[in-house]
């Protein structure tokens, strides 16, 4: 066998080297200046506030896998551009200091709930989740619960705290996918629309749409099973306007329960630092 085991220890920017690399990272005023610079230089392609724009991908989409994660990579992408893409170089147009400020802002945008979990009694919040809150009747965490709604095991690793609060309290809350003008890949729906349908053979299904096209529908039923249906077999289909997710948790729970539930949810993260610290990439297998 030709063995090419590549030991690619991924170098993570520790907080120490971050500070060394970008002294503006913790500087609130500089980050605010970075936001202003971002809005006047970047949003034409990338969209405002890190959301996706007309040409470039969103730079702060929760759950997105970024090609450039470290501050050095973000800095280089802005300064030097990205070859073979429409991302231009900004050196000569922006000073290094300005680029560092934008870098600090972009990096800051990407933080998720786990970076600053809310205070509260986490153990009690966990009880609320599985008990009175009824969350586990739709959601799964670490293999426990139901599969009807999204798995929340990595909720705090992919969502911002405000997004979690919105989901618990706002009827119109939506979580959008990466979008932008990057390659549009076929991905499962980032939203969970409710569908109710009956087939010509008289069966009825209600559940959450996972995919559909002009000829077929894929859904998770309230029976917790996948249903793969031929549209030609469907007699009626209703797209229900309202999410199955209640949006009054700040009212239906006591203030303590609500606070503690948020403390629990903002700590649900499946990627402990130790998992990311050093990764052995399996090389091309022997042949």
């Amino acid at each position: 066998m030709r063995r090419h085991l590549v030991l690619a220890a991924l170098t993570l920017i520790s907080s120490a080297s971050w500070a060394q690399t970008n002294s503006l990272a913790q500087d609130g005023a500089a980050i605010e200046q970075g936001r202003v610079l971002y809005n006047s230089n970047c949003t034409g392609c990338h969209g405002a506030n890190g959301a996706a724009g007309e040409i470039g991908p969103g730079l702060a989409i929760p759950g997105r896998s970024y090609g450039r994660n470290s501050v050095a990579q973000i800095f280089d992408a802005i300064k030097l551009g990205i070859p073979a893409t429409v991302m231009p170089a900004h050196q000569g147009k922006l000073s290094d200091e300005q680029i560092w400020k934008i870098t600090a802002y972009v990096k800051g945008l990407r933080g998720t709930a786990i970076d600053a979990p809310l205070p509260g009694d986490v153990a009690h919040g966990q009880k609320v989740f599985w008990g009175g809150g009824g969350c586990g009747s739709c959601h799964m965490i670490q293999g426990r619960g139901s599969i009807i709604g999204p798995d929340l095991s990595n909720l705090a690793g992919t969502r911002k705290t405000t997004s979690i609060i919105d989901a618990l309290t706002k009827t119109m809350h939506r979580v959008y996918g990466p979008g932008g003008a990057g390659p549009h890949t076929l991905a499962p729906l980032p939203v969970y629309p409710v569908v109710r349908l009956t087939t010509f053979s008289g069966k009825t299904f209600r559940g959450l749409l996972r995919n559909e096209d002009s000829f077929s529908i894929q859904m998770i039923g309230l029976d917790e099973q996948l249903h793969l249906l031929n549209r030609a077999a469907i007699k009626t289909i209703v797209y229900e306007p309202t999410s199955l997710m209640p949006s009054d948790y700040n009212k239906r729970l006591s203030p303590e329960e609500y606070t503690d539930l948020l403390a629990f949810l903002t700590r649900q993260d499946t990627m402990p630092a130790s998992d990311q610290a050093s990764v052995i990439m399996p090389g091309k297998d022997p042949d």
Binding site: M1, M140, G143, I147, D151, N211, E212, D213, L228, P282
Partner: protein
């Protein structure tokens, strides 16, 4: 047994068509599935579906294409269970509607990994993910939720082979620091047992290393399983140092061997070494194919393997008894002959040298890991044969010298691939299909009860051959390099044949009449 339970043992017994007893209601239809790497435990990679036949295969048409992001040149065999197809990379599984090609869910554990990965395993509505950071995960097949996540025992990295799930155990293997096979509880992830081809201190096989500490013997392809004998069969890789044998005088057990392990505890039941004292990287990782049939007039439980070293082996799989070895490529010169016990005499004049030594077959082998298949109706064994030699080099005469190999030795002596059919019980060649332009192994084959051998070619042709004659009946240019093996499945009575070409999954079926997916 609850409604989510999934009975698959019966489906995988013997060489019967894979038809899972689905009791979980995942699909309320008569699905016929592809539940394990080879389609069945016996490694036959033969589909019992026969809607697509030699008479109608010329009408076969692409039904859908699904692009899996991340990696190119996927080597995975998809799993199909209850109308859902599961495609894997390291750290990744995509679930797609097997009729429409629509994605249902994706699971991606960071990072997006490089490296060849050959499939996942399905058991009781769970799928198993090998990760690039030494973990093994079980996912809920309905939505991709992680049900358990364990660190691999002893901090080892799993190789890219598809996990083999038998008797509620996930069997996995790896290469580093030397070959190993491990078992985990499929329901809980609990570590159960481990086996290594490194002989234990009290094992007489240790003497076969000339006093040196055994090294190497990676295990990176799935094996097969006989439920009746309760044995799993795996191949082991080459000894180290790879192309320099002077520090490990002897046969170097259990390198380049077929091993039979007790599925319950991983104990070695028997072994058979194909290539002793290997200096050419002739891994024995080609699929051990389990067949019951008459060998020289006597009914036996056989194990068949077309080995990388150029010989087709027939063993008794109950005890490892050597029955015969037949040379299946034109040139083999690493050995001067195989004795009555199956032991090959190595020709030292073909050891790698500073000036370069031509050896046949080449280090890439007379065949390699891409899957063979077996048709029990025709008694034919199908596989991809690679005709050609190579040059093995070392950079000095010292121990542990740097080594390497060159592919085709000279202009006009390039490699040539064939899809080849052997009489399974005699090893005699029955037919050849020349894969024009294919010169390096890559895709495997699959036979079907419709009398067809589906054979993919290196540069993208996906071809249907007449299983009796090797005549091409249909072909489709997938437009990219193929390094995977085909499968077949059925949903609502309609047969599909699927192949991965680079990072695109193609699924083919006969023309529809009326509105369908």
């Amino acid at each position: 047994m609850g409604i989510r339970q999934f009975v698959m043992i019966g489906a995988l017994l013997g060489c019967a068509p894979v038809s899972a007893q689905v009791s979980d209601g995942l699909l309320k239809q008569d699905a016929q599935n592809w539940l394990t790497y080879s389609g069945s435990y016996n490694g036959n990679r033969h589909s019992g579906l026969k809607q697509i036949t030699t008479a109608n295969v010329h009408q076969l048409q692409a039904k859908w294409v699904y692009h899996m992001t991340g990696l190119k040149n996927l080597e995975a065999t998809p799993i199909v269970a209850n109308g859902v197809m599961y495609i894997s990379q390291y750290n990744r599984i995509d679930a797609i509607d097997a009729r429409s090609g629509n994605v249902v869910w994706q699971f991606q554990r960071q990072p997006i990994a490089t490296g060849a990965q050959r499939g996942t395993g399905f058991w009781n509505n769970k799928l198993y993910v090998t990760t690039s950071d030494k973990h093994l995960l079980a996912l809920d097949a309905r939505n991709g939720s992680v049900l358990w996540n364990v660190a691999v025992a002893d901090g080892l990295q799993l190789a890219g082979e598809a996990p083999l799930i038998v008797k509620g155990k996930v069997i996995v293997s790896g290469n580093q620091p030397h070959g190993f096979i491990q078992a985990y509880d499929a329901e809980t992830g609990k570590y159960l047992w481990s086996w290594s081809p490194i002989p234990a201190p009290d094992d007489p096989a240790l003497a076969s290393w000339g006093g040196q500490t055994p090294e190497g013997m990676p295990i990176w392809v799935s094996g097969s399983y006989d439920p009746e004998l309760n044995l799993i069969y795996y191949g082991t890789g080459q000894p180290e140092p790879q192309w320099a044998g002077e520090t490990r005088k002897g046969d170097d057990l259990y390198s380049d061997s077929i091993v039979a392990l007790d599925a319950d505890n991983g104990k070695l039941k028997w072994w058979f070494q194909n290539t002793p004292h290997d200096t050419h990287d002739y891994d024995s990782l080609e699929m051990p194919v389990l067949v019951d049939g008459a060998w020289k007039g006597k009914q036996r439980k056989l194990l068949l393997q077309a080995n990388r070293n150029g010989f087709y082996y027939i063993l008794d799989r109950t005890n490892g008894e050597f029955l015969q070895a037949t040379q299946f490529v034109a040139k083999v010169d690493w050995t001067t002959g195989i004795d009555a016990r199956g032991h090959a005499a190595v020709d030292p004049s073909h050891d790698p040298s500073v000036q370069g030594t031509t050896t046949c077959p080449s280090t890439a082998g007379a065949t390699n890991w891409p899957s063979p298949s077996y048709d029990s109706a025709l008694h034919l064994f199908y596989f991809v044969a690679q005709e050609g030699c190579g040059i093995n080099l070392r950079d000095s005469a010292r121990n542990y010298a740097g080594t390497g190999y060159l592919e085709s030795p000279a202009e006009g002596q390039g490699w040539q691939l064939y899809t080849r059919a052997l009489d399974a019980f005699t090893g005699k060649k029955v037919w050849d299909y020349e894969q024009v332009t294919s010169h390096h192994y890559g895709p495997g084959v699959m036979s079907t009860a419709g009398g067809i051998v589906f054979s993919a070619e290196e540069f993208g042709q996906f071809t249907a051959l007449d299983a009796k004659t090797g005549k091409a009946l249909w072909h489709f240019n997938t437009g990219d390099v193929i390094t995977a093996s085909p499968i077949s499945y059925s949903v609502e009575g309609k047969q599909y044949v699927a192949i991965i070409s680079s990072s695109n999954v193609f699924s083919f079926g006969l023309p529809d009449h009326g509105a369908t997916l």
